[in-house]
Amino acid sequence: MRYITIALAKGRLAKQSMKILNQLGIRCDEMNDPDTRKLIFEDQEHGFRFFLAKANDVPTYVEYGAADIGIVGKDTIVEEGRSLYEVLDLNLGKCRMCVAGPASAKESLNNGSLIRVATKYPKIAKDYFNNTKHQTVEIIKLNGSIELAPIVGLSEVIVDIVETGSTLRENGLEVLEEILPLSARVVVNKVSMKMEQERITKLINDMSAIVS
């Protein structure tokens, strides 16, 4: 039997996804060992292989077929824009992609003036402002602590993931507009879906039964 390779986005999501897979009898105890230096883990009995990757890289692994299946957030899928099948919403890690900023920035979003937008997600931000809002913006790509940008005057607003909104509130910012709802998704390589149709479809149906 060929191995079906699953790429998991490192972190909380990987743990939650493994829990779902455990419920299906797919086990990989080695993965829970915090001291392991291994990069790839196997469940020989069921013919599955797993590896952990940086979230942004999961769609790439799946597009090229290096992984047959990937589990990753919708934000990464949209930002990377890879050619994949997006077959299941795991309803995990639910949050929203939002435009946020100080309340005073609200007006600049409505009058179409040129504003600066700081974000980790330049593609999503650009697409939203150009194609949905038809507003000319300057996008500033940052790699972390996006909330800082409007406070220190680097940008008027930010585009970022908002879960509870408490970080925003603590820094005097608020959600100004919602771009899209987010959650973890199962993505599948387009060729693997066809070549391993039976096993992959079964896995997805089983996972779907657990999460819905």
Binding site: Y64, G65, Y85, V87, V191, K194, M195, T201
Partner: protein, 370 residues
Amino acid sequence: MNKRLFTTPEGVRDIYDGECKRKLDLETKLRAKLHLYGFEDIETPTFEYFEVFSEERGTVKARDMYKFFDRDGNTLVLRPDMTPSIARCAAKYFKDEKGPVRFCYCGHTFINNSEYQGKQKETTQLGCELINDSSVIADAEMLAATIDCLLEAGLKDFRIDIGDVRFFKALIAESDLDEERIRILKNFIVDKNSFGIKDLLKDENISEELKNILTNLPQFFGGVDCLDKVSSMTGNKDALLVFDHLKALYELMKVYGFEKYIGFDLGMISKYEYYTGIIFHAFTYDVGEPIASGGRYDNLVGQYGKKAAAIGMTIVTDKLLLALSRQGLLSKDTDKPVEIISSERSQSDAVKRAVELRREGKSCTITYNN
């Protein structure tokens, strides 16, 4: 020394050593196969006027083409796709021909897509086009030629999935979805994203039957039995005609003895807008993308001035070779040329020997060694 003298630009590469020979051998074999189907060789220019490939033709997006200007200021492009060129030829040179015209080709295509790092921008495509024939036999011949070529190449484990763009068109004609919705819906179908479709159609004023079939469209792929399953779900007359066509096609594939390679995927929508009937992709293990694709394009040749039905297929030879090598199906080259060592005194003997060997069809080299 200038670094640029050593490297090639991103997305293009040198092909050398055994790989080049394997590639040429493969191309020769596949062309010979296509000749058995009556396809005649054709070569078209590497670059053409932009208009041949422009947006309305429904090929590659304009921004993904390599564009440049000639002395008169005309915009030229390196061909991103072979089919429009062949369609243009057919319209020009066979304007009054009523009977079928068959072409096969092998050439380089160029797509300038910076987002696809790790993908080649120059690829070799080998394929064929059958013009002036709208019959199901023509569809079947095209599929059979594709399968025959893949088998000839030595591939064993592969699958060809057939879809039909008319199916989605027929379904959507029933609804009054606006253009933007249809665009989003298409993207969801391409991504096999059922939950997205469900969400999109939730508040739309369309029949439950249609909602149901559209939501499940991403799952409508598999063997021939999936056709019956789906046809029982719809009363749409045009959609049902598509099923009749696909079933007739499947019956013919059985006659060729190729049915085990055939699958169906009704949720297949091509990125090329020019397709009007069946479309298909060939898949195999170890390469994450289709190794061959094709489809029917009955309106394209007309855009160049001759109304004619047509169908074609393309094999991406680079991908096919990659699949063969990853699956360990490439034959090892064993016949190295005979080496004749010559010293100053034996030069004429060495040359005589070489001429002799070559006359017998054996390859040999002369190495000077004093």
